[in-house]
């Protein structure tokens, strides 16, 4: 290998290590009993085994074995399935509405010529510019006024304030990039504007819509401030809020927190893996000249 290659692969290895290490640590720590979490040597199967050899681990020559105690505690004592369900419902509904409403909206912004188009686009973007902390209080008062505090709609509606601008702007950019000849061809082929949009443009936008949906879902899944402010008890708390409230008066149950973090990462990972092929495949290839 030439020196350039060595440097390049070295850099890649370092990047991967930097990226993967906290994740690996999180998984390992979530499988380690609380008592051993702060028991001396760094966690990790190899280092724990090595540490056992030198006797520095404090344990009686144990080799590290996965322990599901934190997960058990999470789902029995903490009833963690409740915030998981809440997060799925809220993030799922937010994504659904944002994509259902945002897609036609983005199409119109990108493709139709109408008076005030620039203004509408700017206004949609402006909505997402307000710092969340600035709108929490007024939103709380509004939601309380209509009796939506501590309900699913009480979270989905505020979430749409940041989810809609996100979907509309991402998709509008994508629709603008689709060759307009395709739509023109569909019109000449006898399809009305709506049919051309649904049968020609929409299938081409599918990968972009999937990507946008994933991003929206991630935002909603990770959102903390609104979820903390607009819920009152465990019945409607979402995952980030529930994890934050694990902290007791005297101690932080790190093992359970990390186990919860692993659980919270699972749906995201599943969604990304499921849609990966759609995202990567460039459906527009071959539409116009090669």
């Amino acid at each position: 290998m030439r020196p350039g290659h060595v440097a390049r692969y070295g850099a890649i290895a370092i990047l991967i290590a930097l990226w993967a290490f906290p994740l690996a640590w999180m998984v390992v720590a979530s499988l380690t009993p609380e008592a051993r979490l702060f028991g001396g040597a760094a966690v990790g199967p190899a280092s724990a085994a090595g540490a056992a050899g030198t006797g520095a681990a404090g344990g009686a020559g144990v080799v590290w074995t996965p322990d599901l105690a934190h997960y058990r505690a999470l789902f029995t004592e903490r009833q963690f399935w409740l915030p998981v369900r809440n997060s799925l419902v809220v993030a799922g509904a937010t994504t659904l509405f944002a994509v259902l409403v945002g897609t036609p909206c983005a199409y119109a912004l990108a493709r139709l010529r109408f008076r005030g188009r620039g203004l509408v686009g700017a206004a949609i973007l402006a909505v997402s510019m307000f710092p969340q902390i600035a709108v929490v209080s007024p939103l709380f008062l509004m939601l309380r006024g209509v009796g939506l505090i501590d309900t699913y709609p009480g979270l989905v509606l505020p979430y749409l304030t940041f989810a809609m601008p996100l979907t509309v702007w991402l998709l509008a950019g994508f629709f603008r990039d689709l060759p307009s000849d395709l739509e023109d061809a569909a019109r000449l082929d006898g399809a009305g504007r709506i049919r051309a949009a649904v049968q020609v443009m929409l299938p081409l936008a599918a990968p972009a819509i999937a990507t946008t949906a994933i991003l929206t879902f991630l935002y909603a899944w990770n959102e903390f401030l609104f979820a903390l402010s607009f819920t009152l008890g465990p019945d409607r708390q979402t995952v980030p809020v529930a994890i934050a409230l694990f902290r007791g008066q005297y101690q932080v149950p790190w093992g359970q927190v990390l186990a919860a973090a692993v659980v919270a990462s699972v749906p995201v990972t599943v969604v990304v893996l499921a849609f990966q092929r759609r995202i990567v495949r460039g459906l527009t290839s071959g539409a116009v000249k090669g």
Binding site: D181, D184, A185, A186, L188, D189, G190, T284, S285, A287
Partner: protein
Amino acid sequence: MAAIALERLTKIFENGGRRGGGEARGTTAVEALDLTIADGERLVLVGPSGSGKSTVLRMIAGLEGPTSGRIRIDDRDVTAVPPEQRDLAMVFQSYALYPHKSVRQNLSFGLETRRVPRDEIVRRVAETAAALGLDGLLDRRPAALSGGQRQRVALGRAIVRDPRAFLFDEPLSNLDPRLRGDARAELLRLHARLGTTMVYVTHDQEEAMTLGQRIAVMRDGRLAQVAPPMTLYREPADTFVAGFIGSPPMNLIEGRLLGIPAATAGIRPQDVGLTTPADGVIAGRVEVIEPVGHVQTVHVAADDVRLVAVVAADQPVAPGDAVGS
């Protein structure tokens, strides 16, 4: 099949878009254009880029609304009719094949939108595919086709519909030169077989000459001349048409002519002969020679003019030679 009439057709594109108020400022793409295309005619719109020829075609198609003026198809005013109801077919420069549909679906889409019965769709797609040699490709996606195949699918998508007229927007400009010649012949055969009105836009004067029964030369949104190809070639209306039609371009020599104080004389390069400096009317020096095979193009610089001559390939000339013409 249909006759198409354009009456005082004008298109002004607004600049900048957003700041609309006040007087209508914008770019005039097409200005008060009058043109009648006869039923079954092959009309070519030709002109340099920016001359408004594509805009005219898009207005006929209904993809652009005219700022003023009217469009009639068979005496029916279609100015306000949306493109999907005009029953025209268009072949785009980019081909614009639906990338998510197979060739078969690309061909049948325009029939499905018009609610043609299923068995007739199957029959017509098969006929068209056979006529264009697309039989083996029906289940492929456009991405899996070569440039020439894509061009034939685009053509097939237009003819399978049996429309009132075909609109072509530089459909051959993405093909390599050899395929382009084949495709031109194919279009002429197609027109002979179907007899459908064709409006063809190109910036290539050679393509215009070979494909048009009449050619409309456009310049800056106006018609410079509308005439059969040979009339354009022999009797151009002005120096623009004279310089645009024919290759290499006509020699235009400024000067006085038979008592007219300022005039321009046009001489086709093919009509310029080269001889010795003493025998010629204009004496000059050979600058550049471009051999083409059976002929060679010779660029001659004289005192105050430059001349281009096309002479036989076997005439001995070399750069730097003193010649007369």
